[in-house]
């Protein structure tokens, strides 16, 4: 006997992601899923973002990390609510972890939630957390070929930040090619060259983020 199913696989995550999305929508919260390879500068960018925007809009941060609370501690210094999630050995956050984290946040009084995913350009791209949109961060030290080699995140993202442009004089990275490749992969992608440490391009990022609210 043949049984037709059409049952989606890995649905558990998608179902929980849909619940998260609905919960966030009800509270009018915009959630950003920030994804990059390890060390591209997600936390540094978040530090600058929290510093600049925390008095303009009520925000909170969820920090994903395999083992430590280091990133959570870096953000906590700015006095915004932070939930640290550890994923020992796990390479990505999933929707269930975000559901639990949402339980411990005061959703009534939030407008912006930024989720820093585990440093990894591959796995996080495949797991919907229920976010409003994804933002990919690529740093110039990673090499020009990365958008083409890891396209899934950039296909899905609403914006890509090309970070560490202060290092351009020292690395063989062509900003022009990177922008071209990213826009080929995803024509609607907002691409923002930036330096989180030297603070280049950050105004453009803040303004773009505020426009999404």
């Amino acid at each position: 006997m043949q049984v037709n199913l059409a049952t989606k696989l890995l649905r558990a995550n998608r179902d929980v992601a849909a619940e998260n999305r609905e919960r966030l929508r009800k509270h009018g919260i915009v959630a950003v899923n920030l994804i990059s390879s390890p060390g591209a500068g997600k936390t540094t960018l978040l530090e600058r973002t929290v510093e600049a925007l925390k008095d303009k809009i009520p925000m909170a941060v969820i920090e994903g990390d395999q083992y430590t609370a280091l990133d959570g501690e870096r953000i906590e210094r700015f006095g915004v609510p932070v939930v640290q999630i550890n994923t020992p050995g796990g390479c990505h956050l999933d929707a269930g972890m975000i559901a639990t984290a949402l339980d411990s946040l005061d959703l009534e009084n939030l407008r912006l939630l930024i989720i820093e995913n585990v440093g990894n350009l591959i796995c996080p791209a495949e797991f919907d957390l229920g976010e409003g949109f994804k933002v990919g961060v690529l740093s110039v030290t990673e090499g020009n070929d990365k958008p083409k080699k890891y396209p899934v995140i950039f296909q899905d993202a609403q914006a890509a930040i090309i970070n560490k442009v202060d290092l351009l004089p020292y690395v063989n990275f062509s900003l022009e090619h990177a922008v071209q490749d990213l826009q080929e992969i995803n024509p609607g992608l907002k691409v923002i060259p930036a330096s989180a440490t030297r603070q280049d391009g950050l105004e453009e990022w803040f303004n773009w983020l505020l426009e999404q609210m």
Binding site: M1, Q2, V3, N4, L5, A6, T7, K8, L9, L10, R11, A12, I122, C123, E126, V152, Q155
Partner: protein, 80 residues
């Protein structure tokens, strides 16, 4: 990536459905896997062969249809 989780979910789905239909042995399963899910057919096959013995799926053949998008579902299975 995550082929193991996909195969576990696949097996649970089919076993549960087969039990509901009081079927004893699954002979074949067809799944559809989009390229954008980044799940590798060879790796899915390997996980399936590793996990299926000693279940009602033992010896079942797994057919994988690859599509360009994000599809990821069990289309049907054949059992008796």
């Amino acid at each position: 990536m995550h082929e193991l989780a996909i195969v576990e979910d696949l097996m649970n789905t089919v076993v549960q459905s087969a039990q509901e239909h009081k079927l004893q042995r699954v002979k074949s399963i067809k799944i559809v896997v989009g390229k954008k899910t980044a799940a590798l057919p060879d790796s899915l096959m390997f996980c399936f062969e590793a996990l299926s013995p000693e279940t009602i799926l033992a010896g079942a053949s797994l057919e994988i249809e690859e599509t360009p998008g994000r599809e990821l579902y069990v289309e049907y299975y054949d059992a008796e």
